[in-house]
């Protein structure tokens, strides 16, 4: 085992420029994940602190509600952030799979292959966590400019403390390792399958059934919320998390289904290639657009906010009560938009990073295609289609899912109300443009890779 583990740093260095770039992308992803997670936790602690020790009557009255909303934001953000971390752990998976599959064929045991991956991803996670913690500290002055409850937070209120920072530096490498080891299963089980790229087994429809059950559970819980007493909020937030998990289950399955339909209907090379890639690896595509799917879900859920904001103060309310309500609904809207903005940023980062990794992993294939006369514009078109079609499907589909799931509480008024609909459409459009923009960063990378790739040096 030790002889094989001693290979880890050498294998890392042997990756050359691509290896360094992939590592940099992975570390950057872990850093973004850590910085934003700490920021969100800091926000939660800030609201909890104000609720525990209110500075004025408003904080005394509404402090607990803000804590509940902050928890909701944490639940809404945790899955996209974990998805980003998962993408980071799987970065360069094709290259690593091929390398580890070769080692397996040379006689390295499954346990040693897992150990190599653990070493590689753990140090990437650790470096990312440390950089992310520094990023969180750098972002604190930005968050202290956002007003909530009539005043801005101080840096001290949003500071998570050294123990939490230390915990982040321990937890992120563990998450990275778990994600990396899970993605290794196919190398360990069948090295030949990875080395030779066989047709992947289709995903079972049981995913859809599980997802529907989770969604149903959420809707039932929200319907009987009033009878759950003190546990109501915990149940609602828990089932919201379940809904999110359901989306992650159903997403890749639905994308695979759409891919098969698109293969049948494809007429041009770009349509055919993009559809085949979707069928080949729906989980990989979900990793690119899944973040946006979850953001779409958040946007769908938040479409009810303008409705809540408009119908808050009663007719007989005093001027002070109206002012309080204005502050409350303004904060609700601000918090919702902030949550959404972070979700979209995370989704865009996930998409950009995954696409860049795909270009690097497929460099030889791309170079050979161009060599044989395939226009680079076609590769660009395939790359764009790979993201665009699933992205639109996922964004609209998940927003609709959220609207359906929220309907027991708010009915369909959330989206029939013009301001809610406007918010939903604006958010989805902005998010899609952001993700598309992020994926376009791999366009110059593709050209640079093609310019530098020597297919077979003489």
């Amino acid at each position: 085992m030790s002889a094989v583990l001693a290979l880890a740093p050498r294998l890392r260095r042997a990756g050359g420029r691509d290896g360094r770039l992939t590592t940099a992308l992975a570390v950057a992803s872990f850093a973004v994940m850590t910085a934003l997670t700490l920021s969100v936790v800091g926000g939660l602690l800030g609201f909890a602190g104000r609720a525990a020790d209110p500075a004025d009557a408003y904080q005394r009255e509404y402090g607990d509600s803000y804590v509940v909303f902050a928890w909701t934001a944490v639940v809404l953000l945790v899955v996209p952030l974990l998805t980003l971390g998962g993408s980071a752990a799987r970065l360069g998976v094709a290259r690593r799979d091929a390398r580890l599959a070769t080692l397996r064929l040379l006689g390295v045991t499954p346990r040693e292959v897992v150990a190599l991956t653990v070493v590689e991803t753990a140090w990437q996670g650790l470096v990312g966590a440390v950089v992310g913690a520094a990023g969180y500290a750098a972002l604190l002055p930005v968050w202290t400019r956002v007003p909530f409850q009539g005043s801005t937070f101080s840096a001290g209120e949003l500071w998570v403390g050294w123990p939490v920072l230390a915990a982040a530096c321990a937890v992120v490498p563990v998450l990275a390792v778990v994600s990396g080891v899970v993605s290794l299963r196919r190398v360990v089980v069948s090295p030949l399958g990875v080395a030779r790229r066989q047709t992947p087994p289709g995903m079972r429809a049981v995913r859809a059934v599980l997802a529907l059950v989770a969604m149903g559970l959420f809707m039932v819980v929200t319907l009987v919320l009033g009878q759950l007493g003190a546990f109501a909020i915990a149940f609602a937030i828990g089932s919201l998390a379940l809904g999110f998990a359901a989306l992650n289950l159903i997403g890749p399955w639905a994308l695979g289904l759409v891919g098969r339909l698109r293969v049948r209907r494809a007429r041009t090379p770009a349509q055919l290639l993009a559809a085949r890639r979707l069928v080949d690896d729906p989980r990989g595509t979900w990793r690119v657009v899944g973040g946006l799917g979850l953001a779409g879900f958040v946007a769908g859920a938040l479409a009810v906010v303008p409705l809540l904001a408009s119908g808050s103060a009663g007719d007989g309310a005093s001027a002070a009560e109206v002012a309080e309500m204005r502050t409350f609904t303004g904060d609700l809207m601000r918090g919702a938009l902030l949550t959404l903005a972070i979700t979209f940023l995370v989704a865009a980062a996930s998409a950009g990073i995954t696409q860049a990794a795909t270009v690097l992993d497929r460099r030889r294939e791309y170079a050979l295609q161009v060599l044989a006369g395939t226009p680079v514009a076609l590769l660009d078109s395939v790359r764009r289609r790979e993201v665009l079609v699933p992205m639109l499907l996922v964004a609209v589909g998940s927003a609709a899912t959220a609207v359906v799931m929220m309907s027991p509480v708010f009915g369909v008024a959330g989206v029939t109300d013009p301001s809610g609909l406007l918010l939903l459409v604006t958010c989805l459009t902005a998010g899609c443009l952001l993700v598309l923009g992020a994926t376009e960063t791999s366009r110059p990378l593709l050209r640079s890779v093609l310019a530098e790739t020597q297919v077979r040096p003489d």
Partner: protein
């Protein structure tokens, strides 16, 4: 075997020079390839044979000298036009990796005519006929990873020839195969190319592979040091 009677070379290189930094890969190569001729370019590793193939195919632009395909100079063309030449008039067979892993065999072959504007249905029908003629009937739906090395190279041959190219370039086409499979692939490659009326340029370091070609060109230190014609293996049968 003689190729003197042909009206003019299909592919013609004059005074090709190509440098990579301080290294001179080609130091003034002249080469003519006649229509239907099969040429093996041989030489040890680093001799410049792959660089020669890449210059002839318009992949690399030589520092000096010219390459002409059917009398038309490639040096006058920009990258987009050279790419079009490679798509329309050339076919390629590489050692491995040119087949797209996600596509089944039939779509890998059909992709080439689709890139030239043929409809998917027509291209698929044509690809099916090519695969059947190369002994791959029944394997149309298999992906490259589910084919043997020899079968995958036959798919690559079908993909190279389906568009009716004037010249087929093969870069170590049997490099990843055992000897028996390699000979079978060379038989298919040379026979099919001849029947299609295309010229064939094979880069190899293997004399057994070169024996399937009617002409053997030896490259050393970026120069042609030997050029001989012979009866290719398989033609006597």
């Amino acid at each position: 075997m003689s190729t003197i009677s042909t009206p003019g070379p299909r592919l013609s290189a004059r005074g090709l020079v190509k440098r990579f930094g301080a290294t001179t890969a080609l130091a003034g190569v002249d080469l003519d390839v006649a229509p239907g001729e099969s040429v093996a370019v041989m030489g040890p590793s680093g001799s410049g044979k792959s660089t020669l193939l890449h210059c002839l195919a318009g992949i690399l632009v030589p520092d000096a000298g010219t390459v002409a395909l059917s009398g038309r100079g490639l040096h006058d063309l920009d990258e987009r036009e050279r790419s079009l030449v490679r798509r329309r008039q050339y076919g390629f067979v590489f050692q491995f990796g040119q087949l797209l892993a996600e596509l089944p065999a039939i779509e890998n072959v059909a992709l080439a005519p689709m890139l030239l504007g043929t409809s998917r249905r027509e291209a698929t029908e044509l690809a099916g006929r090519w695969l059947a003629s190369l002994g791959l009937a029944g394997m149309e739906g298999r992906r490259p990873g589910e084919l043997s090395g020899g079968q995958a190279q036959r798919v690559a041959v079908a993909r190279a020839l389906i568009t009716g190219p004037e010249v087929v370039f093969a870069d170590e086409p049997t490099g990843a195969l055992d000897q028996a499979t390699g000979h079978e692939v060379m038989r298919v490659l040379t026979e099919t190319t001849r029947l299609a009326g295309a010229s064939l340029v094979v880069v190899t370091h293997d004399a057994g592979v070169a024996a399937w070609c009617g002409r053997r060109v030896e490259v050393r230190d970026g120069r042609v040091v030997a050029d001989e014609r012979r009866v290719p293996q398989g033609s006597a049968r």
